[in-house]
């Protein structure tokens, strides 16, 4: 329990030490960490590699922006509607994608999210197409003005910590133990009395819900949503964060999200070609560091302390 608390305290102290630029960067990292952690539920704990998770981030963001800009609803009404709508969509997508496992599952999730991506470009009356939906204002909980970097960061941090805590509880629950069982030995799990399909479907919906939460935070941060947020590249960035950090660990997606965003941010100062760098990082990580950074460092640490003792 010590390490998570220390991380939260440090994260809470950050605005005292850093300027606005870094506070905003930290907000983005927290949002991206929630997104990556929701992918990790499927990939790391369920063994289900999804390449379509941007669908939930993007649809929740689009729903919020659409309801706010075109129907002029209030944020307190929009947020639950966007979350419920996106979660229902996750339920339907899960019915389709979980007809397969392994590569079939991956291709189905990819195809489903690409359909949404294409629709976001073409359904101009709803999405404003390539222009994206612009002009959303941040919510003002308890009348606090969230347009400043610092209050918004604390808003994101509170929700982000809650989200990751809820996901951590989920994977350490009895249900989480059965989920890991379905990843390792699905046949045995059926023989032990578990409905493997239902376990996966529930997890798929739960992961979709937290993906939607990250989408709400995402659209609050940017006040803007564009089809690119639904793209394969966005799903892939989330997946990369999970793999880079270490899938199937709690810290993995958080560390991975920080690595990917810092890299992206650093790179954008020097080069224009983020996608090419992203591609090279993908190849590099998969070929050279398939276990991820967190387990890799952990292993080195254990080896070091073992040689000391």
């Amino acid at each position: 329990m010590k390490t998570p608390l220390a991380v939260i305290v440090l994260a809470a102290l950050l605005p005292l030490l850093a300027g606005e630029y870094y506070i905003n960067l930290a907000s983005q990292i927290v949002i991206f960490a929630v997104f990556a952690a929701s992918i990790n539920l499927l990939l790391g704990y369920g063994g289900l590699a999804t390449l379509g998770h941007a669908a939930y981030l993007g649809v929740a963001a689009y729903l919020s922006a659409f309801l706010y800009l075109k129907l002029q609803l209030a944020h307190w009404a929009i947020a639950p509607l966007a979350l419920i709508g996106t979660t229902l969509m996750a339920g339907v997508f899960g019915l389709v994608a979980l007809r397969a496992t392994g590569l079939g599952f991956l291709m189905l999730t990819l195809a489903l999210s690409q359909v949404l991506w294409g629709t976001a470009y073409r359904w101009v009356s709803v999405t404003d197409g390539d222009n994206g939906l612009r002009g959303l204002a941040r919510p003002m909980p308890f009348g606090i003005n969230m347009n400043e970097a610092m209050p918004f960061y604390y808003f994101v941090l509170v929700i982000g910590v809650f989200a990751i805590w809820m996901m951590a509880r989920f994977v350490s629950s009895p249900f989480g133990a059965t989920l890991r069982g379905t990843r390792d030995q699905p046949r045995r799990m059926s023989a032990l009395g578990y409905d493997v399909w239902l376990i996966r479907w529930i997890t798929f919906i739960y992961a979709g819900f937290w993906g939607a939460v990250s989408g709400l935070l995402f659209v609050y941060y940017h006040k803007y949503i564009h089809p690119v947020s639904l793209s394969l590249a966005n799903s892939a960035e989330g997946l990369l964060a999970v793999i880079a950090g270490g899938s199937g660990t709690l810290a993995g997606p958080i560390v991975g999200a920080a690595i990917v965003l810092l890299l992206k941010n650093w790179a954008s100062a020097y080069i224009e070609r983020w996608n090419m760098l992203l591609g090279f990082v993908f190849v590099f990580i998969v070929v050279l560091m398939p276990e991820g950074v967190v387990p890799g460092v952990k292993r080195l640490w254990q080896r070091r302390s073992a040689s000391r003792g």
Partner: protein, 286 residues
């Protein structure tokens, strides 16, 4: 009437292009269990290489052959020097192909710029063809013809040659195939190159209809995926039927409900997945 006749031809032409793209994807997936996500990028790379070749030698057919060969070499190198290194790591292989597709897309943007580059239709096929009371663009008819010829050639390759017999054996049971002495390693490289070549040449052949533009890869990949999901992985017939179904659904979707053309693509996919998860002609559950 003329409008619908043209839409039908457009569907067939798109179906033909999708077949060129998806046949290789399907064979690679069926034989090697690699979901090659570079396939859309290889199609686009082919189109751009075609653009450059035609600046020197303005002949579309020569450009298609040259682009096919160049992309095949690229695919071969990718298979041998990267994918093979992480054989057995199924997820890793998919992610690497995804990473490489980002690299290709960005390299194309860097080399050929952000504006769409049209690829001219061969002069002989620029004349419209009159059939009965309908007028058709000749080039689209030619694309359908090429797809059918390639399909027949691939069918003969699969059914009548030793290579084809080995591929079929490998798709049915990869372990058994290597146990009975089929040189699986060489076979993998061959099929990967063949699939890449089809995608690359397909990009040039599609050029006069689609042009070469950044994002062509991302537009084609989902269509190819849907073709394979519909038709079933590893099946040539499945790729053929799936390509034309997708071509029709997409073209008529765009014509009738332009906003929701992509959503309409869902429908056949969901129907097939619901009743036959392995696809119409699939040999195994993906």
């Amino acid at each position: 009437m003329q409008y619908w006749a043209i839409q039908t031809l457009n569907s067939l032409a798109l179906g033909g292009l999708l077949f060129l793209l998806a046949a290789g994807f399907s064979l690679i997936f069926g034989l090697m269990r690699i979901a090659n996500l570079t396939h859309g990028a290889l199609f686009m790379l082919g189109a751009y290489i075609g653009v450059s070749v035609m600046r020197q030698w303005p002949n579309l057919w020569f450009a298609a052959l040259a682009a096919g060969a160049a992309v095949a070499i690229f695919g071969g190198l990718l298979e041998r020097f990267i994918l093979r290194q992480i054989g057995g790591n199924v997820l890793g292989q998919v992610l690497v192909t995804l990473g490489v597709s980002f690299i290709i897309a960005d390299a194309c943007l860097l080399t050929w710029g952000g504006d769409p580059i049209p690829i001219p239709t061969p002069p002989l096929l620029q004349m419209p063809v009159r059939i009965g009371s309908f007028i058709f663009p000749a080039y689209r008819l030619a694309v359908v013809g090429i797809a059918v010829v390639v399909a027949i050639a691939l069918y003969l390759l699969m059914e009548r040659t030793r290579l084809g017999a080995m591929i079929r054996a490998g798709v049915d049971d990869p372990q058994m195939a290597s146990a009975v002495g089929i040189p699986v390693s060489r076979l993998f490289s061959t099929v990967f190159c063949l699939g890449a070549a089809l995608a690359g040449a397909g990009g040039v052949i599609g050029g006069p209809i689609l042009s070469a533009y950044p994002g062509l890869d991302a537009d084609m990949l989902p269509l190819a995926l849907i073709v394979v999901i519909l038709g079933g992985a590893g099946s040539l017939l499945g790729a053929f039927v799936g390509a034309f179904i997708t071509g029709f659904v997409y073209t008529f979707g765009v014509a009738l409900l332009p906003d929701l053309a992509y959503v309409i693509l869902f429908l056949p996919m969901i129907l097939v997945i619901a009743f036959r998860p392995r696809g119409l002609f699939g040999k195994f559950a993906a």
